[in-house]
Symmetry: C2
Subunit: 279 residues, 2 copies
């Protein structure tokens, strides 16, 4: 019997082993995939397969945003299942659905993503509180990244609201820290708000951060690593999606995708070895 | 060309026409549907079809929680599509996915639910702010119910946090009111917290409330109507799911489902005609 590590420990082990923080966002969009694939029976599936084959040694994790599979109906579901079954053991799979519902419903989602599809982790909305999160936390080897500070403009609408002496996203982050009994909770923290990321890492030293915003969204990779990693240099996943997966548009697109992924992988490796005196 | 009303107006027109607030929650669970259906090719699809045929004159809306379709894979997707295409014009269809993502992704979800499936409304998480909601608001005839005060225990974790002189859920409700430019925004407000519902209706007199919590979750129907409706006696959808759809387990289950739905429909009609001196 293979003994599985708690999710956060497995993540940190892989980060160290692969010497990178790279998470590749696999969000296939029919408007952007290479033209020659569009005439195939399941373009999305072929697109994802080629990318996974070309990048699996370079990434710690793949993150699949469920919106991009759902909109392709049966083809999307097939591609998602194939991704779940084909990805190698040493690349974690995060299903990014940002779900959040009452316990009865959350159990359905958890069973679909963890038991049926075999994902390693999910992303969740915090707003409905503990009983909406708990069904995703009962197996230590399965993780949940809860939204704290997101990378979009609208993050300013509610996430910075003042709660006593703290802010809403900080309050939520502290609460998620308390829920981390089995060492399988993390936070989503965007790299677009460097100051917010920096403060949150100081407040929450140990939870892993899943960091979107680098790449097409324009955030700085160096800052994301400098301020996002924990004191042992792990606890960080930096998601890059569009900038990698649409790197090529010709028949050799997977080569271009690998080149771009390799570039990110190496930049991250170098920055991982950099010490900054900033604490 | 058929001119479509803004969602909130269409909703209120139907509430008045059908003289009820009944929204039936169509969340098919293989563990609870009648045993004889389980041997059919697509049990979920047959289950939903019989219920819709038996109840369409009694309900203002159907609410389908997407978790219960997704977990059934291709059968679930087929059942969901059939529900979307078969339901009559005078029953609104709300897809309850509680989504919330960056604009690029929100557009995908909106296009799937509104353009591909033809739903009338969705439910959304507020946490990521305006740009995560906006893609669902650009067509006046399509509505969005944003979570304000939910019916589960975990609602207490964040939704009552103090923000200046108000609470988080009230602050969010006020913000959604500002987003209601095209008259197509509503709020999800649970009936399990009667005091919360009462105060929120006073603060937000005009937005429609989608109210879960009655039925299996145990909230009081009379209070939900007394405190949830607006001053003209509309602006309210009361969702009842499990208590109606699992009313029968034999081959005649649809008859039992209709009886239970009729009971709720009539109770709501009566309470709709009741005047309370409470404001």
């Amino acid at each position: 019997m293979k003994i599985k590590l708690p999710f956060n420990e497995a993540l940190n082990t892989l980060i160290t082993k692969k010497s990178t923080y790279l998470c590749i966002g696999l969000d296939p969009d029919m408007d952007h995939i290479p033209a020659h694939l569009k005439y195939e029976k399941n373009p999305i599936d072929l697109f994802i397969k080629e990318i996974v084959e070309a990048t699996q040694d370079l990434a710690v994790a793949y993150k699949a945003n469920l919106a991009f599979y759902e909109c392709e109906e049966l083809n999307g579901w097939e591609a998602l299942k194939n991704l779940c079954y084909m990805r190698p053991d040493d690349v974690l799979l995060i299903l990014d659905g940002k779900r959040g519902d009452i316990a009865n419903t959350a159990k359905k989602y958890a069973s679909t993503y963890f038991d049926l599809l075999g994902a390693d982790a999910v992303t969740l909305h915090p707003y409905m509180g503990y009983d909406s999160i708990e069904p995703f936390l009962d197996k230590p080897e399965r993780g949940a990244f809860v939204l704290a500070l997101t990378s979009n403009e609208g993050a300013a609408d509610f996430q910075h609201l003042q709660i006593g002496t703290t802010s809403l996203h900080q309050y939520i982050a502290h609460t998620v820290e308390k829920w981390n009994v089995l060492n399988n909770c993390g936070l989503v923290v965007g790299a677009t708000d460097v100051e917010g990321l920096k403060i949150l890492r100081r407040l929450i030293p140990n939870l892993p951060f899943l960091v979107p915003g680098v790449g097409t969204q324009g955030a700085n990779l160096r800052d994301a690593i400098k301020y996002g990693r924990n004191k042992t240099g792990t606890g960080l996943l930096i998601n890059v999606g569009r900038d990698i997966i649409y790197a090529g548009q010709e028949k050799d697109f997977a080569t271009k995708v690998r080149e771009k992924a390799l570039k990110y992988n190496r930049e991250m490796s170098e920055l991982m070895r950099t010490s900054w005196d900033y604490m």
